[in-house]
Amino acid sequence: MNRRDFLKAALLSPLVFPLIGQQGWAYKSANEDFGAQKLIVVLLRGGIDGLNVVAPYGDNRYKQIRPTIGMSRASGLLDLDGYWGMHPSLAPLSPLWANHSLAFVHACGSPDKTRSHFDAQDYMESGVPGQKATSTGWMNRLVGQLPSKNSALQAISLGPVLPRIFAGPSAIATIEKSGNKGAGKGAKRMGRRLQNQPTNGDVPSVFTAMYGGRNDDMSKAFASGRSARNKVNAIMSEAAAQPPETMEAMTKEQIIANRGALTPKSTPEFGKQLATLFTKDPTVQVAFVDFGGWDTHVREGAEQGQLANLLQPLAGGLADLVRGLGPVYNNTTIVVMSEFGRTARENGNGGTDHGHGNAMWLMGGTVPGGKVYGRFGGLADNQLNEARDLPTSTDFRAVVSSIVSSRLGLSSKQMASVFPGYQFTGNPFIQG
């Protein structure tokens, strides 16, 4: 049975693949402490080329329609299962594939048809594709459903601005990506001057008096920011006392805003930073970080090149994160996603244009890994959406729902407020 027939069989007779529990995630018992479970979401802004992250090199069409950017085993592509291959820059993650805690869901994404970066990111962050009026983000709504830990650090956003995915009423701590020490220093100096006391980095009391107790969004932001700052200061000074590599400063902070998102090149320390926060403060439960620079219309490269140069620090950072988490990794799920995939064919400029379905990455101690999931029909024109890009055969909300319900213990009623209007029924973990 070749891959195409295999897929057909799967589609025609779902009984061949009995669903594994309603959530499709239940490889491990769900009978455990949901409060100890962690979720980390990484968003790659710009639409990463999933077909060159997890490449169907077993399909002859792959090299035909990607003559210059297509990769091959001979030049370094990492084989996954004889059909799929992983970009060589993802080598730091190979051990996770080997120990079955890394999986991919291919041809996955938002069901909305848009090829606009901004709409597609918006929908992936609001969690309600097609409805622009959604003012909150799904991760904020998720935090609202989790049992409160009375901690300003229960949900963390890494980066200077609060992303759309975290917009909403629940308090989110925004923490700068690692290494930006200048701001902290300034704050301490200011604190000293205003309070005339040895610095602890706390906010000057005149502002506490101004912002405290007002029932508005600025006051809430203030309270949450102050509490988070004090906690992070405490964690980081403790970490500094033990001199591990987690306190390494980013040497050169070349800020490139991609909706506020830096490229992974400029913040390679994010993995260590996240690991420190998660391991030093057990109340940290949910985190989000984004990276820009994936919009490779021109000179994308193959095993080497532009995409490779971005994947390298990303994979390195993720490997650092997993290493740094240590035993906490067993209770953690890491999701890497992007607003859409890119065209199956390379364009005339050695790049790819906006497409649809993409590869979603999953890592974690309970991820049923070592497999590429998703319904994938190959690269023939009649299998592609508009003969152009991968159809979105798995809704990203199916994957997220599966994780959130089985790992974080949300009921289907609670899931309905995370993804309103979305009926989670299907099992995303079908191998194509």
Partner: protein, 563 residues
């Protein structure tokens, strides 16, 4: 030191307009006025506070009284006619200092950029002090006449003959080297060309926003830059970004939208930023096999429809995007014309790479005639109802509310259509609308980091001595100047900018600003914060604070976060 002392010099110049924004003098006088402000919150006071909040980057001490004596309507009209207001000498000096990075022809900057790159490569192997180009500095005093808003070139006639003036003979790098010297950084040389350009354009933007009495003009410059965003972080746009703003946007800020649309389309910086420089008809075979330009690149075509004109819901399809991409094939970067020595400011058109077939966009057929096709398409797009609505929404959001009232958006769209896309006419309608003046929309917009920064400098009268520190503040706030990588530009909504850590960092900044030796006194700064009107809670907190913390407290107050 107060920043204003120089400004009073030009008071006489601005008499003609009746608008004397530049007359700012002593803290004593401002203190006297702000007391009155704090007492009387009559409707006129509220109106003055509102126009100062919305048509400027925040009042300076004493501005309140000036608008009161000038009259709100005359103030608005003066702001809508920026050339009627004398420019600040500080701005003029900065424009002269930075002329090189804003006015050099694109072709020369591109050439220089390449030479520099090659020189760096070559120097890697050797000890590396290879001279890249001769330092033919010449007399740069005629580079620009910054009084002329249409400077640098009056070359906006991009369909006509290309530039050929004194400037064209000068090598871009040499001019930029000269810029380094003028900034007192002798010896930076060409290898730092990119850094020079970057700090030049960033400094200029901050100085203009803080110091220019043509405040509405500066706010519109920011608005349109974000609308037609390009990023300093992308390749050659690092050196083209200054000229882009100067040549493609600033001449049209309150002019005709179609002209600005055309100028951005014809600017090499845009061609490069959205990859149209690569956009080539299908099946093209270049004579040079190394040439990688093969096939359509739809990036610019898509954003031209989605962001610049119709809007994402403007009613176009993927097919329309592809057809427009075909219209745009062949448009790319200019090259220095070796034979004549003439240099190019604007994008060039390569017939060889153009698709001469007919195209159908939004149901309308465009004959494949070459360079003129895009002009017809831009005409259609600029006239389109969706464009009128899209631009009107964005302007109403910028000037009125994050969720602008639909009736106002409709009003503006009508004004846009009736005036043939005249931006000043739309703004006139906006400032005259009942919605603009509604109480619920006053002091309800949350400042972007840039707005917050500039308004705090204006409120305290701080002089700009360390622009690098200011630009660093914007980086940690998530709004590095000219570095928004995505073509949708920076937003101006609360949702985009209010977050816990960012808010706290504004307070950190407020403390540092008050600590930086500026002699701003509490009473004069108070007059600039929401017309002197503080909530009881804010007032009580400040009253309890030691006197030397009060200015910082004001700049970090909830009232000052809004405008």
């Amino acid at each position: 030191m107060k920043a204003y002392s120089l400004l009073s010099v030009i008071t006489a110049l601005s008499v003609a307009t009746g608008w004397q924004f530049a007359l700012v003098d002593s803290g004593a006088r401002a203190a006297e006025t702000s007391d009155r402000v704090a007492v009387g919150q009559d409707s006129q006071t509220a109106q003055i506070g509102h126009v100062l909040n919305r048509l400027t980057y925040g009042p300076r001490p004493g501005d309140f009284e000036k608008v009161r004596s000038l009259g709100v309507q005359r103030f608005i009209q003066a702001q809508l006619n920026p050339t009627s207001i004398a420019e600040s000498p500080k701005v003029l000096a900065q424009l002269e200092r930075s002329a090189a990075v804003r006015t050099v022809p694109s072709s020369e900057l591109l050439q220089q950029f390449q030479m520099e790159k090659q020189a760096r490569k070559a120097a890697k192997g050797k000890t590396g002090k290879g001279k890249v180009a001769d330092g033919n500095l010449g007399n740069t005093s005629n580079i620009s006449n910054p009084n002329n808003p249409n400077n640098p070139n009056n070359l906006n006639n991009f369909n006509g003959p290309r530039a050929n003036n004194n400037l064209a003979r000068r090598k871009g790098g040499a001019v930029i080297k000269e810029y380094g010297k003028r900034r007192g950084q002798v010896g930076t040389g060409m290898t730092n060309m990119r850094n020079e350009v970057e700090s030049g354009v960033i400094e200029t933007k901050i100085v203009r926003a803080v110091e220019s009495p043509r405040q509405l003009n500066e706010m519109m410059a920011d608005f349109w830059f974000n609308h037609f965003n390009i990023s300093i972080a992308k390749g050659v746009d690092r050196v083209l970004i200054g000229p882009y703003e100067e040549q493609a946007l600033r001449p049209y800020l309150m002019g005709n939208f179609r002209e600005m649309l055309g100028a951005t389309m014809h600017h090499p910086a845009m061609m490069f930023y959205l990859d149209n420089a690569q956009n080539t008809k299908a099946g093209y075979q270049a004579a040079n096999p190394k040439n990688k330009k093969k096939g359509l690149n739809e990036n610019y075509a898509r954003e031209l429809l989605e962001l610049h004109t119709l809007g994402v819901d403007g009613g176009y399809s993927q097919k329309d995007v592809m057809e427009l991409a075909r219209v745009l094939t062949g448009w790319g970067l200019p090259t220095l014309r070796r034979n004549t020595g003439a240099s190019g400011y604007w994008a060039s058109f390569d017939e060889q790479r153009h698709d001469f077939g007919d195209k159908v966009i939004l149901g309308q057929t465009f004959k494949g005639t070459g360079a003129n096709e895009i002009e017809q398409v831009l005409d259609m797009l600029a006239r389109h109802n969706s464009t009128a609505h899209h631009l009107s929404f964005k302007l109403a959001q910028y000037f009125v509310d994050d969720n602008p009232p639909p009736a106002l958006v409709d009003k503006l769209a009508t004004s846009y259509k009736q005036s043939g896309g005249n931006i000043k006419a739309v703004l006139n309608t906006l400032f005259a609308s009942q919605e603009f003046w509604e109480t619920k929309y006053q002091n309800n917009k949350f400042k972007s980091p840039f707005h917050y920064l500039v308004s705090s400098l204006r409120a305290t009268g701080a002089s700009i001595r360390q622009p690098k520190q200011l630009s660093a503040f914007l980086k940690i706030q998530g709004q590095p100047l000219y570095a928004c990588l995505t073509p949708d530009g920076y937003k101006n909504t609360k949702e985009a900018w209010l977050n816990p850590d960012g808010l706290l960092k504004r307070m950190d900044f407020a403390v540092r600003l008050a600590d930086s030796g500026s002699a701003a006194d509490y009473q004069s700064v108070l007059g600039t914060v929401n017309g002197g009107k503080l909530s009881l809670q804010t007032k009580q907190a400040i009253d309890k604070a030691p006197p030397d913390q009060r200015v910082a407290a004001l700049i970090g107050s909830p009232e000052f976060m809004n405008y």
